[in-house]
Amino acid sequence: MIKNFLYSQKVAPYIFVLPFIAVFAIFWAYPLASSVGMSFQHTMLGQPSEWIGSDNYSKLMSDGVFLKAVSNSVVYMVLTLVILIPFPMLFAVLINNKFMWGREFFKSTFFFPALTSIVVAGTVFRLMFGEMEGSLINSFLGLFGVEPIKFLKGQVTGFVALLALASWRWIGVNMLYFLSGLKSIPEEYYEAASIDGASSFQKFTRITMPLLKPTTIYVITISIYAGLAMFIESMMLWNGNNSPKNIGLTIVGYLYRQGIEKNDLGYAAAVGIVLLLIAMAINITQLILTGMFKKED
């Protein structure tokens, strides 16, 4: 009886997706709910917690360090979008030409940085952007007579280092996404356009860009996520969760500082919920603007 039940076509799909239901409930829905709850409490690990209403949130709004972290994360996200969408797209279009020399080699090489651990990549970039005269970037600038720069001590130069690290690691990955999008555009479109006398630039703006849109939306969505949630990059670059005047502090870095380093779980939970709201708001706006929710023509 039981065996027949478990083997029926009605029950089998639930058995197949059961692991997901379990993981979703235990490690996602429950923590999310408890995070919302915790954000309205004063709570420390191993101590009884008390309800304090929206105190954590009102405290956050006037917490200058938190606002600094939010602005850092948002600026970082916007700048990574500005760099890591157009350039990988352009590279993908150029490398997609079957007559190009060495395209397989370039594709693999561009992907190499993504294989490195952020611990390794962050350490290498920290040393490359070191403040000494002999550090890689400074020794290069020195060739043009530029005095050594203390990259990781200034807001702008610190972000240059962060963005260099992000670009280095992700340009090849995003390029692969765009290449997969390009594969689905039929060659005939371009041939027809050529017959009509379209220039390469027109082909790019009238055929490639519109047809790459689903891929572009996907890459923008994951980049928003990654940009807002960035933490370890900053932690490795500044060798700890403390940067001078918090120039490298991110929202997740602040969550980590409050929750793990200061054990103030309720306040940290509120930081997490604000991050969730920011991420959802930006992503939904983005999806509306790019027409994701419009009905298919």
Partner: protein, 277 residues
């Protein structure tokens, strides 16, 4: 579209320049791994190929010195293999459920998959940390493996892939008297092989390099993974660059070899099912 020799040369030169820029950090770390840590502290990491300060000392220390590098290395290797194997099997099974059947609640559950892909995991760090604490799973690899065992991105990818498999295959299996599970194991899994290669590399990469969550739940030094171990070499009291640089260099090799061996599957697999609708 055919292009002229001039355009070809221009493209080649352009990509070669970008390529050199991308390879510079790899070159720097390779050169650095042959230099003593003191040299790095004094002059910084650079591209100088200076034989008078370069030696195999760091490599000798890596293989013969007293440190825990290879404990971390084998921990990482073990964790990566177990995690990738379990994640792939579980995620593929879930994806098959979504791709092959119509059932009540399917759309709702699939929206949950997409939701996980869009919401930063990091906001759950603390509640997951307390949960792990209360479940008594601190310092165990199951705390690292279990939360990601039905991985949303992997489920999504496998489902896209399975949509291309004809439903007649499943129907034919039923006619032959196979059970629902028999069809999956004997007919569908073999067909999914190419997509497994791509997902193995992607998940393997993530697992091998994963730091934030493992760093939070593993505090027992004997269980450190490679990224955690390398990170402990960086301390406020001075950094152990001798082991750090050569260890970093060496840690890239396994995943690089895996990638080079399977790159054809990987790039094709990534581009097969990645971003469709």
């Amino acid at each position: 579209m055919k292009i002229s020799i001039g355009a070809k040369t221009l493209l080649f030169v352009f990509f070669s320049v970008v390529c050199v820029l991308i390879l510079i950090p790899f070159y720097a770390i390779t050169i650095g791994s042959f230099k003593p840590g003191k040299e790095l502290v004094r002059y910084g990491l650079n591209l100088q190929f200076d034989l008078s300060v370069m030696s195999f000392d760091n490599f000798v220390f890596l293989f013969t010195g007293s440190h825990s590098y290879f404990t971390w290395f084998s921990n990482s290797l073990f964790l990566t293999i177990v995690q990738v194997a379990l994640t792939l099997i579980v995620s593929a099974t879930v994806a098959y459920g979504f791709a092959a059947y119509e059932f009540r609640g399917k759309n709702f559950l699939f929206i949950c998959v997409l939701l996980i892909m869009m919401v930063p995991f990091e906001i759950l760090l603390l509640p997951l940390y307390t949960l792990t604490f209360h479940l008594g799973m601190m310092n165990s690899y199951s705390a690292i493996i279990l939360p990601g065992i039905a991985n949303a991105a992997t489920i999504f990818f496998f489902r896209q892939y399975l949509r291309g498999i004809p439903k007649e295959m499943i129907a034919a299996g039923r006619v032959d008297g196979a059970t629902e599970y028999g069809i999956y194991i004997r007919l569908i899994l073999p067909v999914m092989k190419p997509s497994f290669a791509a997902m193995a590399i992607l998940n393997g990469m993530n697992s091998w390099n994963n730091i934030l969550w493992p760093f939070m739940v593993i505090s027992n030094a004997g269980k450190y993974t490679l990224p955690i171990g390398l990170k402990t070499l960086l301390t406020p009291y001075g950094n152990n660059y001798d082991l750090l640089i050569v260890g970093s260099f060496f840690s890239i090799l396994p995943i690089l070899i895996l990638f080079l061996a399977f790159q054809k599957y990987f790039i094709d697999g990534m581009t097969a099912g990645a971003v469709k609708g």
